[in-house]
Assembly symmetry: C2
Homo-oligomer: 566 residues x 2
């Protein structure tokens, strides 16, 4: 019997630069094998436009190639690692991707990018999450929604982002109507990949994920799904027309998008007919892989952070201002998924090392600065920083904010600045956690994952000391792919040897590392004093309409900068 030999699912994690496959033993979460395939096109997988720094696209062909290479390599490694492993033991597949990364497709669901006539057209490619070309359209959507449908904005922090679905599509319509007109529909990457695997990519039958729809396309059952047709038509009549070619229903990732198509089964060396779960975003399935549950707050800490928690859908929940999104079922079915985030964390440390201090090799500099910074006591440098070098995602939702460093003397050393920057991101993290708690969302545990959580114990200790809660680290170093594997196990269902629900699967497959970071009460006390000052700066420079507000300063500087640069 298969069950005696073990049961496995595959998680496919489509990141910004590469795709990872991870083979997981669903009985215990053991990661049997993994492989990465870097996208071949563009710069590190991203198609750029030298004339437009806001543009970031991807060739969907890279995704398809990536599935094949990464899965086959993973299975080959698994066979080497475990002689009794057999691909027939793989009972399900889950998929997570970046987002919002919409792809214009034809009536068959084939990306326009695959058509000869659009082969070299960047607008026919996948519009990568970090593409900001639609910033003007985002402002337009925000303004219209604020006037006519404030409820649309209430669920996504009050501002519709240039990174999101309709900003990108409306921008395409404006700058390249040929592509827009040729598109039968637009499909999120996380919906496209499962559709490909199950062999049914036509827009109509595709099962669209709740996560992408709810967080990026203002989809909500309260107002009957996507934004109203007349709302979209006011932005552009053609956009109103597109609504009929999008979707009315969405699905959570416990549902199978379908069964693995024979052609793909053959290509990958898997059994045909195993379920492929409905796709979701990387951060959301990363939270699942970290064991997210009411009371368990997950921080994915890397170049930026994504903070995720859940709240039972049947319990009252106010619209928490400043969040990136509140979506029923976006993380776990039956729970609101709440998303927040910091626009830059590791990116700020990298900026300091690479740009301000271009002395030595970046890795060494991080290590040596961390070593030196670890010797400092909280507050002993006299420094305080704001973590806004890339704007503020939560709770201010304002990209037009910039960094601040204060307190430097003639003796201030680089490791003191480095530590102040770490502390600034910790204060930013505390601000987010407090916002959740202010709205009644209980946080008992903080589970961290992502590159910085994995690699930098000093950052984790400072987060514990600042936030005043124990910091745990997810056991898996690949929580996104693990979350996808969990979705695959739930989509497979109990009958097929999988799990009936996410919490069941998480109980078996997730865990935290033995080493945790407990707050030092003395340090926490000092940090609370410093946080008071951080908050004073935060409110002075980040909020307006009060006497003494310094809100204008960063904005005015950016306005002068933009004028001087043109």
């Amino acid at each position: 019997m298969k069950s005696q030999k073990g049961r496995y699912t595959l998680g496919l994690d489509f990141g910004t630069n590469s795709v990872r496959a991870l083979l997981v033993d669903i009985r215990n979460g053991r990661e049997l094998a993994t492989a990465i395939h870097a996208y071949a096109s563009g710069r590190e997988g991203i198609l750029l436009d030298p004339k437009n720094p806001s543009l970031a696209r991807q060739d969907p062909a890279d995704y398809l190639k990536g599935i094949e290479v990464a899965v086959r390599q993973t299975l080959a490694k698994a066979k080497k690692a475990d002689k009794v492993f057999d691909p027939s033991q793989v009972i399900g597949i889950g998929v997570d991707t970046t987002g919002s990364t919409p792809i214009p497709v034809d009536r068959d669901g084939t990306p326009l990018a695959f058509h000869k006539e659009f082969k070299k057209n960047l607008n026919a490619m996948a519009w990568l999450w970090k593409d900001h070309t639609g910033f003007a359209e985002a402002a337009e959507i925000t303004a219209l929604a604020a006037r006519e449908h404030p409820e649309y904005l209430a669920k996504c922090g009050g501002t519709y982002s240039s990174e999101w679905f309709f900003s990108k599509i409306l921008h395409c319509l404006r700058v390249d109507p040929k592509v827009f007109d040729a598109a039968a529909s637009w499909v999120e990457c996380c919906d496209y990949i499962p559709a490909v695997l199950v062999g049914e990519t036509r827009p109509e039958p595709i099962l669209r994920g709740r996560c992408a729809a709810g967080h990026k396309a203002m989809f909500n059952a309260h107002w009957g799904g996507l934004p109203a047709k007349d709302f979209l038509a006011k932005l552009d009549p053609k956009l109103g027309g597109l609504r009929d070619r999008l979707y009315d229903k969405t699905f959570t990732s416990d549902a199978p998008a379908g069964k693995l198509a024979p052609a793909w089964a053959k290509k990958l060396g898997l059994a045909a007919g195993i379920p492929v779960a409905v796709g979701a975003f990387d951060a959301h399935l990363g939270a699942v892989g970290s064991g997210v549950f009411p009371g368990k707050f997950v921080k994915i800490v890397g170049t930026s952070t994504c903070d995720i928690c859940v709240w039972p859908s049947d319990r009252p929940l106010a619209d928490v201002p400043g969040l990136c999104g509140i979506v029923d079922g976006s993380v776990l079915p039956g729970y609101f998924g709440l998303e927040a985030g910091q626009s830059a964390v590791g990116d700020i440390f990298n900026w300091f090392v690479k740009y301000v201090q271009p002395g030595g090799p970046v890795q060494d500099s991080h290590a040596s600065l961390t070593r030196q910074a670890a010797k400092l006591k909280p507050g002993q440098s006299g420094l305080l920083a704001l973590d806004w070098n890339n704007g503020n995602r939560t709770i201010l939702v304002d990209q037009r904010l910039t960094g601040l460093l204060l307190g430097q003397t003639l003796h201030t050393r680089p490791e003191e600045i480095y530590r102040a920057l770490i502390e600034a991101t910790a204060f930013g993290a505390l601000t987010i956690i407090r916002r959740f708690e202010e709205y009644g969302i209980r946080i008992d545990e903080v589970i961290n994952c992502g590159g910085i959580a994995e690699k930098n114990p000093l950052v984790m200790q400072i987060y514990a000391d600042v936030i005043g809660k124990e910091m745990k680290i997810a056991r898996s170093a690949q929580t996104c792919a693990l979350g996808s594997a969990i979705a695959g196990a739930v989509a497979a269902g109990r009958e097929a040897g999988g799990y009936g629900t996410f919490p069941e699967a998480q109980a078996a497959m997730c865990g935290v590392k033995p080493r945790t970071f407990k707050p030092d009460p003395g340090n926490h006390k000092v940090y609370l004093e410093l946080y008071k000052l951080y908050r004073q700066l935060h409110d002075a420079f980040g909020t307006k309409d009060w006497s003494g507000s310094m809100y204008n300063v960063m904005k005015d500087l950016l306005a002068i900068r933009d004028r001087q640069l043109t």
Copy 2:
């Protein structure tokens, strides 16, 4: 006849680390020869205490050795440079020194440091200007004066500094009463050197300079000279007692302190009996050497700045708040000398290069950062900084202020920060100039001197663009020593072939370099916009008692720092 062969005076400039002698042709200011002697003791001439970073002392023996070496070398060089030069053509000597740098002396005027019993006692040495050990005593003096004699403070910006005469002496009294008790009097370095040269060092007959007395010892004719005996006695009865052993009269530098003593004439190879001018501080005679006159504002721009201007003593002048001092005759006899300054200028650039960016050799980094920074337009970096890394001397008179950098993104480059720091010092300079102008002091010309003015055209151009006035550079690279030589020529008087007044001497001996820096009107306009924002930060963090003031932030951080460091 001597006059056909030329007439010369010697300027002796006692700096922080070395003494310079400069031989100047008084007919035209030509600098015939110069030599420097570095003080031998301590670290770069400064005696330090590893246990107390506030302490900075000097061995007066280094000064005496320095006179001999520097003057003899200068004369030797002069003979080589000009075959007809003869030391008998030297008709006077002027002296400038750092200050307040008081020296405890015995009844003969011999420094206690020369006594066997005090030979190794740092408290018996010269208390160098940058010694801050008396910071608690300074606060005590300020508090008492604010209560009982606010007029004392009105002439020195409202705060009595730890760098000044009575703070140091009171501190000595507190920590080392043996030295205090042994001291017959305390003599400023700028008064001690001329006394040595004229062979009469006894405290009583020494001619004390107006400059040191007025700027650092609260000496003012309005209240009968030094602060009242009962005022000093309230600080400590012994300090009240010392007042009788100090002085009641002070002199401007057109007066001779006496004639060169035969013993010293022999030692130096000069004619005995030539006049030695009353001494003054380096910055003040530096202003003289730069051609200071009503309407001509002198900036000595180095690691910090000293800004000096003069105003006719017979014309009304309000107490300008925030200045370092307003003293009748401290720069030119018959004029108020007004002193302001910035606590750090070049020191901030050095801090950035040496501490924040310890990549390459310091000189190269300055040069390459300057090259890169020169390519930027005003405002294009989006950065704004406050120049308070070493506190703010004028106009806030507050050492407990710290630096601030604002506007950084993930793309901010070091040359942008470097330029922002230069601009911050320019905004600080503009703030000082505006303060003078607000109180009716006309400024037609800005004449710069000092290391940065000499070496960095980018800084000068930014100063012109920010301040909106043409920046001129003093012709001499040694304006302090030149100012002393001018004092020597005036002390010699017309009869001896010198000059009757300072302005006469300046007209002949001073000038500016042909290259000046004119403001670019477009840049000035942008800088005025940026200055508005600088001023907003300046007032928010630097002034208190208004709603929205951020005055507490830097103070609170320093308080936390000080607590964490102990």
